[in-house]
Symmetry: C2
Subunit: 429 residues, 2 copies
């Protein structure tokens, strides 16, 4: 963990180093992934069989080895204890309600010269959702990816998930049942992403691929961007907590650890104007490590990437926060709006002392798939728009063409595109 004070002479250079630190994967991953994508593109299902045997120790032989049926998902849901089932349903209902409010409106109007203009939104036909296997198989991620797709109007929602040694995750299957997933394929890694993008004999191609994954999955999505739509390039994630002195250090410690326990490359940052609170939070974190089942991961993250910035005044916080453009920003003060109003770059903001980030991970409603690695400078969290696209349209009356056609002809000629000019001038003749 690194402790910086904005009043220190070397603060700027040290802070800039944190901002520029990328924590991203290496070039070898890129080459490996490129090979896998080519193999699946060329050889389809037989490449999937080989990779799945090698990486997941799972034999894709009969239909049941290839996919998991809706009935199996329903059975997994029925097996869950009642409280957990209810928690999943509550989460799904709230996520659905929030995302329904994102549905865009079509435009259609006629302007002053008689030109009809507008745009219509449509859902993509098919979306593929990657769900990691093993430790990172989170039912909450499935809900956060699948529900916006269904709200958008996607007809065919396809999950790809590895089942190492044939083992599927009951909670994930139950979540697939709740979200209304249409197909589940038991393949993972870059090879699964390739199958979704290119299609194989068994797996029909999709239009958009979303969902979290390891470095290979993320790189496969990045390389296939353009062949399909993707949600975003995801990297290690961050939490930034802006806290005044009136906070319970145990609460803030838990918030920082909730990010740190995800992965050793995760980053937890505290900005506070109270040196006493900073020291208490540090102590509370050390104490937590003694009992936390995820202490090994959290300890590595906090040691390597943890950061506490002591500011003279919280007025300094928004500018520092914007430079970090963190995935999650918690504002633990009495008047969080005063700071929020000055923020420009953040994936999601958590307002006030009663809003730990974990509420947003599971149940508040907004999406937990958010831009990481400073990408909130230019990217947004997942939304129904990621599963939709817009078709603009133009309808010119004879009068409208007469009004503005000549200017278009003039521009086309100036650009050296005579057939463009001709297509208008012929109609004006």
């Amino acid at each position: 963990m690194q402790l910086l004070r904005t009043s220190d002479a070397d603060f700027e250079s040290k802070f800039e180093r944190v901002v520029r630190d990328r924590r991203e994967s290496d070039a070898q991953v890129g080459r490996d992934v490129s090979d896998i994508l080519n193999e699946v593109r060329e050889r389809g299902d037989s490449a999937l069989v080989e990779y799945t045997k090698r990486f997941d120790q799972h034999n894709l032989t009969g239909d049941a080895d290839w996919s998991i049926s809706k009935e199996e998902c329903k059975a997994a849901y029925d097996r869950l204890d009642g409280e957990l089932r209810k928690a999943l349903e509550t989460a799904a209902t709230r996520i659905r309600a929030y995302h329904a409010g994102q549905l865009p409106e079509d435009r259609d109007y006629t302007d002053d010269i008689g030109m009809r203009l507008g745009a219509r939104w449509n859902a993509v036909e098919a979306a593929g959702l990657y769900v990691p296997g093993g430790r990172a198989a989170y039912p909450s991620s499935l809900l956060m990816n699948a529900i916006p797709a269904k709200v958008a109007g996607v007809e065919r929602l396809v999950v790809a998930t590895p089942t190492p040694k044939g083992e599927a995750n009951d909670l994930v299957l139950a979540a697939a049942h709740v979200a209304g997933v249409d197909e589940i394929w038991r393949v993972g890694g870059a090879q699964a992403v390739a199958a979704l993008a290119y299609g194989t004999k068994r797996i029909e191609r999709v239009d958009v691929i979303t969902g979290p994954g390891n470095a290979w999955v993320a790189e496969a999505k990045r390389q296939l961007y353009g062949v399909v739509g993707i949600d975003m390039v995801a990297g290690p994630s961050e939490i930034l907590v802006i806290a005044d002195g009136n906070n319970d250090p145990q609460w803030i410690a838990a918030d920082l650890l909730s990010q740190a326990e995800h992965d050793p490359t995760s980053q937890s940052i505290l900005i506070t104007d109270d040196r006493g609170l900073a020291a208490q939070v540090e102590d509370a974190i050390d104490l937590e490590f003694l009992n936390l089942p995820t202490a090994k991961t959290a300890r590595a993250s906090w040691a390597d990437h943890g950061l506490i910035v002591i500011v003279d005044s919280l007025d300094e916080a928004p500018a520092l926060s914007d430079r970090l453009a963190a995935e999650h920003v918690e504002i633990a003060t009495d008047d969080p709006e005063a700071i929020f109003a000055k923020l420009r770059h953040a994936g999601s903001v958590f307002l006030g002392r009663n809003t730990p980030e974990a509420v947003g991970d599971y149940i508040a409603g907004p999406n937990h798939v958010l831009p990481t690695g400073r990408r909130a400078r230019f990217a947004s969290g997942l939304s129904v728009l990621d599963f939709m696209k817009r078709t603009s349209f133009i309808g010119a009356s004879e009068d409208a063409l007469r009004a503005i056609g000549p200017a278009a002809v003039r521009l086309a000629e100036a650009e050296g595109l005579p057939a463009h000019a001709l297509s208008i001038s012929r109609r004006l003749a």
Copy 2:
């Protein structure tokens, strides 16, 4: 040019081949671009100097070799003939008006359990716009990229454009003046895109890069996606004209040629239920080749990628059109809405006999940067949203946390994330 009839026995296999034809660039471009990006990332301006000398025969020595001032843009604007200046202004005004209607609304509401939820939109701080040099230096492209950025609220709008042998394009400079571009750098190719994404000593990095370019520029944007936001992966473009028998074949011929004259890889497609019209359009195109200054390019495009599909009834057109998911779809019938209502995948639609696609290229208002290569299945045209991003937010009252916190704790425990659970349960204790 290929002529297909939906009534032919082999129609399906032949049409599917057209749908799958990619017309995209090769792997060698990918490796070359990767090398250039690394050089610029490592060596900054000195790499730019070398590449610009090699590729553009232009020496980046003094400040005036590096950039073009606002004053020079204003002077170029003043030099234009009055009619052309007015055409540029008309186009800019109409593009601005259409895009202003795309500005998204923020959300902020409190739900039934007292949870405050919403999202705020902000513009990115800086956008980079690539403008090709030479033949493809189109002022209309500059307007179509720059105006949405300015409407979105981008403060710093940076153009990168090659000036081969030091030559800049007056029309492009004039358009930069009209659009309010803030900086123009005289660099091009993959090296310019790298400079915009990573930043150099001279050129400050931007958040989003848009704009057309050759295969190297397109590949550079694709590879840098994630380091910056980009508009889209662009490829060769298409026009699809759906026409009944009551059309002037010369009009339709000009429309098809307006796409074909762009590039030998462009594709022009006619779907009609009238074999007579099809034959007349073919003849009209052949006649046009005799006089068209861009005939060489148009001829190559029409010969290699041109397609006429004869359908028994125009009722077949929407499904065929959706499979092609073309960048531009013209509907030249008396009731274009009847066909448009059945379309799902198209970049932009041009309604009725008086709406040649070229009207949309220059002056109608909607953006002419549109998804190509069948990407309208999942992508949209450029809009102000490409220069903005959304920050979601959550504010839980004590009561709201009490209402749904326990369900989140239950889910966090089930996912094996105890610090997540702790951050909520501590507040509920």
